[in-house]
Symmetry: C2
Subunit: 232 residues, 2 copies
DNA sequence: GTTGCGCATGATGTGTACAACATAAGCTGC
DNA sequence: GCAGCTTATGTTGTACACATCATGCGCAAC
């Protein structure tokens, strides 16, 4: 399957965005995707020069992107060594998940949008993609749909600080699932994700954002619990 | 009065921090302070070259700081024009305050610290400073103590993502109070702040972080309400 | 007097050369 | 053979020159 298209144009472009701003946003989105999908796994050493050459820019604008990703906790630059993809320890993971669980229900309480037919179509499409994934499971496909689902959920609030905060936290933990999953794990997780998205779709169809937020919280909690069980 | 000392060493230095990292942190903290205290008021145009010269560095490391502040919503760079200090509209302000009100009570629920004698001493000192401020009110002194109080509160949780999120949101709105305050307003607000800090101090003395979080939420809510009333 | 063009000016954006630094390989002395 | 120093190599950090762009002033045409 080719789910990559689901991750295109995640970040919205501003109407009066400068060329530099557009390039920054696109590079940031691309490299963040690569980190989240483990194309750049934790511990990997990136080269500014190699990346700059790949994207056809000089080091200067690329470094701005890497600094942003460093501020988001995904990279760490060390002089004389390189730019390293960060790992995350269980304590930090737990802190992030705890906060995410508190933020999820706010989706319906802080400036929610009205559910539109486009929203329903969006979750229908996600569910269809996930059903196809169940027939042909892959760790990469799982992650792509997981990320796309997050953005569909976060887009239900118009509270930008809330959305930005949830996005930052999500990407800090998004790549953890992929690490150390056996083929059997992947099959099970794909099925679990399809049930999760079905729940979201049903809540969206009902226009019940409060339910949506709490279902999200429940699934986030479940993910955290299973991660802890795997760790022991 | 000279309360400036309260804002020194707000950000903690990492043990194995590189010289570049230390310089970045210090410059970021200094410029953020200037924006929050309205030394750089909204709409003001900064010059990268002038700032670089003042701090004795080249444009390159300074630009990293300005980009970070841009990501935090405090600055906006426009090619051919300059680096502008942002303003904030009521809608965005409302969104930030709504989220801050939800996060405050989490202080006690997500990985709180045990209250130490140092914590009590810290709030005692803040209260003493604020009482002195009431005798000699000033908008700048008010802001400094307000910022220092925020950091004292945020330091009560060990959940770093929560602390970072609250800090980001706080600084997005910290400078709003100072705008358009008459001398009479300043006197009243200083008194109000002293009562607020007294409440915090009492809760800390009791070791009751849950009360501390909810008192914080109440005062945040009160601030928002008064801001809205001023706007109309 | 007014309008519109053109240029000077100063700002941020980009590219590049070099400095500072960490690492590993190799070499030398023992 | 091995320890320790040296050096080669590759990396990020810094400085600077130049490109690109927005703005306002001056001047000329009308």
């Amino acid at each position: 399957m080719d789910q990559e298209i689901l991750l295109q144009h995640i970040s919205k472009e501003d109407s009066n965005e400068s060329p530099a701003g557009r390039r920054f946003r696109q590079l940031h989105e691309e490299i963040r995707s690569r980190i989240s999908l483990l194309d750049y796994p934790p511990g990997m050493r990136l080269s500014e020069e190699a990346l700059a050459e790949e994207f056809g820019v000089s080091r200067t604008p690329l470094r701005r992107v890497l600094w942003q990703l460093q501020a988001e906790g995904l990279l760490k630059s060390v002089q004389g060594v390189g730019t390293l993809v960060t790992d995350i320890d269980m304590a930090a993971l737990y802190h992030v998940y705890q906060l995410r669980m508190e933020l999820s229900p706010l989706l319906a309480r802080l400036s929610p949008r009205k559910v539109t037919p486009d929203d329903i179509a969006r979750f229908d499409m996600l569910y269809a993609n996930c059903l196809a994934l169940v027939d042909d499971p892959s760790a990469r496909g799982y992650s792509i749909i997981n990320i796309a689902t997050f953005h569909a959920l976060a887009d239900m609030t118009t509270n930008e600080p809330l959305r930005d905060t949830m996005e930052r936290l999500f990407y800090q933990t998004a790549r953890i699932w992929l690490k150390s999953l056996t083929d059997q794990d992947v099959r099970r997780e794909c099925k679990s994700l399809s049930r999760e998205i079905r729940d979201y779709r049903d809540a969206v169809r009902l226009g019940d954002l409060d339910a949506l937020g709490h279902i999200w919280r429940a699934h986030t909690s479940s993910s955290m619990t299973r991660l802890q069980q795997k760790a022991t």
